[in-house]
């Protein structure tokens, strides 16, 4: 490639890509607001957010299609913030692929190498290898419109890998596929990316896609990173109400801290008759306003009240949706507040399941919920 090559290992592997205080402003509107991130070599990293969260703008700045208003992007020890798109060692797989309609699969995949004036036979070799990798060799002479959605996606992947980029960007990689194909393709895609060993950032609004594919996830909202962590961490220990509600479903109870110790917290909530007990310590002190989040699959239902003084409440079953593996119960509490519970189909055993309109106790174990301060 044309740009000066960095000595091998110029950047430490743990900070292969560094995004430093990057902001993109369109007039008064800050699409991306002071984002800093460090991504190690070979990581698959997901930017997860709803539309307008700034995730696509951040991706476009990495690709060079937008210039940051402030901040730096350093890839493998080289500041690429000012490089034009065509000089960056970064390639992108576009949303709905943007394959060149007048070129064959082969020509599409070889396009990037042709721009670098790579000799023809070398291009042919490399293209053949890539098409083998994505199992498209047999369809090399087809035009994009003669391919299925999945085949187009594989062609686009091969095209974006052709120049062995230092950083691979995936913009809603599987958004154009139907649900069943998407599930199969997610793992296939991860396998290809890992076999090539490329560092990868993907943008998605689909939490399942992010959780299946990525090593780490950044949740974005209003141009800011809300939380960065592994799938498990983000789901089980959300750091704010936004993450808790955006990733999966949850029940939130607002309340005041009445007891704060090193190993537990007790919260008084107007929604809930009993006090809420959380079996881990937090920073807020007594009297501060907090929210407690408990996932529906952690909420249990029973006909009789437990012995515990915490974490249960009387209510009536409002609605039941049977989903095969589990049923979703909407239980109405005394003050009208609804609690969602995912009850496994096997839960009731020999007992008759509680039906709509019947009284029921909602409850969860002490370690099932978390405290959110914002």
């Amino acid at each position: 490639m044309a740009e000066p090559t960095q000595p091998a290992g110029a950047a430490a592997d743990h900070a292969y890509l560094t995004i430093e205080g990057v902001t993109k402003a369109f007039g008064d509107f800050r699409a991306v607001d002071n984002v800093s991130l460090t991504i190690p070599r070979r990581e698959i990293f997901a930017l997860l957010g709803s539309s307008g969260s700034g995730k696509s703008t951040l991706l476009r700045m990495l690709a060079g299609m937008e210039t940051p208003t402030e901040g730096k992007i350093i890839l493998d020890g080289e500041d690429i913030s000012a490089l034009p798109t065509y000089r960056r060692p970064v390639n992108m797989m576009f949303q709905s692929y943007a394959l060149f309609p007048h070129m064959t699969v082969e020509q599409n995949v070889g396009f990037g190498l042709k721009q670098d004036k790579v000799p023809k036979d070398e291009i042919a070799d490399r293209v053949a290898k890539l098409l083998d990798l994505v199992q498209m060799r047999k369809l090399a002479k087809r035009k994009p419109h003669q391919l299925s959605g999945g085949q187009q996606q594989r062609t686009a992947l091969a095209r974006s890998l052709a120049k062995s980029p230092k950083l691979l960007l995936l913009d809603e990689p599987l958004g154009a596929l139907d649900k069943k194909l998407r599930m199969e393709t997610q793992l296939e895609l991860v396998n290809v990316i890992q076999s090539v060993g490329v560092t990868c950032i993907l943008v998605t609004h689909d939490q399942e896609e992010a959780m299946t594919m990525a090593n780490r996830i950044a949740v974005m909202s209003e141009g800011k990173l809300v939380q960065v962590g592994g799938s498990h961490e983000i789901y089980e220990y959300p750091n704010c109400r936004f993450t808790a509600q955006f990733i999966g479903q949850t029940n939130l109870f607002e309340g005041t801290v009445v007891e704060s110790a090193a190993d537990h917290v007790v919260i008084d909530s107007v929604d809930f008759a009993q006090q809420i007990f959380v079996s881990h310590g937090i920073t807020p002190t007594k009297g501060s306003r907090v929210w407690s989040s408990v996932r529906p699959e952690r909420v249990g239902l029973s006909r009789t009240a437990p012995d515990s003084t915490y974490n249960w409440c009387q209510g009536t079953v409002h609605e039941i949706a049977y989903l095969g593996t589990h049923s979703v119960y909407h239980v109405k509490l005394a003050n009208g507040r609804k609690v969602m519970a995912h009850v496994p189909t096997t839960h009731w055993g020999d007992e008759t399941p509680v039906g709509p309109g019947e009284p029921v106790i909602v409850r969860w174990p002490n370690n099932a919920n978390v405290v959110l301060t914002s």
Partner: protein, 318 residues
């Protein structure tokens, strides 16, 4: 019972809708063409209309059909001239062929120039914001609101020896004698390009506005600089627009006679002028008709070829 029987003869909605353009073509194109074809085989006479009927019924109810090949002979004789005599000599005696050639040359030049000028304009309109786009399109079309003749006469006023350009240049002292621009090949070409430009811009715009911007981004992402991107992506993908625009310009330009006769001063004769002369001055309608029929045949050739070409490409893609 009666109603249902009648309904069989009332055409359905869809048939009616498709029938409208077809009957338009039939009444205003196919029929007149057959009249022209018929006249081209008759003989000129001094009468009203100035040609003899093809089919004559004589007194003893005998029907005679007489086809006069003379108008076409005039044209084929000129082809023979070129085949047998030296080039320069043949040119002297072959007014029609030379006029055809001049017309096609002018139409080709006009097409190429409108394409070169129109493409960047269409490209920029297609790439501009939604709000400015409509204004720019209006600017392309506004000249069409004034009469075509008026626009051509305006060019005479601009180009003539004591016209706008020469007056300004002389008063500024740039030149001391007027530059003769009017009644030159330059003024004809200028008038042609000016008048046909919108016919090139509009089809090109309609094509370029559909171009997916992400394809350009994808090309750039893969290391292609702006100009290579244009030649590798934009240009091949706008081919349909280029063909449509070129057709819209080339076909009417071949038969154009107002612009060459007003701005050209009659030195170079085009087929349109020849046709008008035979029709209006010489009152030789059969000859004029034969010229028109041959011109249509000449134009049909490239159109059919292009159509076939596009068709074959589409079939290959499927």
């Amino acid at each position: 019972m009666m109603k249902r029987w009648l309904a069989r003869f009332v055409p359905k909605g869809r048939t009616t809708v498709t029938a409208i353009p077809y009957s338009w073509l039939l009444v205003f194109f196919v029929l007149p063409f057959f009249f022209v074809l018929k006249i081209s085989f008759s003989e000129p006479t001094i009468a009203k209309p100035p040609y003899t009927p093809l089919v004559q019924v004589t007194e003893d109810t005998k029907v005679t059909v007489s086809l006069n090949p003379a108008p076409y002979r005039t044209l084929t004789r000129e082809v023979d001239e070129f085949a047998t005599k030296p080039w320069t000599e043949a040119r002297q005696d072959s007014q029609y062929l030379v006029a055809y050639w001049n017309a096609i040359k002018l139409a080709l030049l006009t097409t190429i120039l409108t394409l070169l000028i129109g493409y960047p304009i269409a490209y920029n309109i297609a790439r501009s914001d939604d709000s400015t786009r409509n204004t720019l399109l209006m600017l392309v079309m506004i000249p069409f609101w004034t009469s075509f003749l008026l626009r051509v006469y305006a060019w005479i006023g601009i180009l003539k020896d004591n016209g706008v350009i020469n007056n300004i240049l002389m008063s500024l002292g740039v030149i001391h004698e007027p530059i003769s621009m009017l009644y030159t090949p330059f003024s004809v070409l200028l008038g042609m390009v000016y008048n046909y430009l919108p016919f090139m811009i509009l089809p090109l715009y309609a094509n370029l506005v559909k171009l997916d911007g992400r394809l350009l981004e994808a090309a750039e992402d893969l290391g292609s600089k702006p100009w290579p991107t244009f030649f590798q992506i934009t240009l091949p993908l706008s081919r349909a627009g280029i063909i449509a625009g070129s057709m819209m310009v080339f076909i009417p330009a071949v038969g154009e006679y107002v612009i060459p006769s007003l701005l050209g001063g009659g030195e170079v004769v085009f087929i349109g002028n020849k046709l008008w002369e035979d029709y209006g001055v010489n009152l030789n309608w059969p000859q004029a008709s034969a010229v028109a029929v041959v011109m249509l045949a000449l134009l049909c050739g490239p159109i059919i070829w292009l159509h076939r070409f596009e068709q074959r490409r589409k079939e290959q893609e499927q």
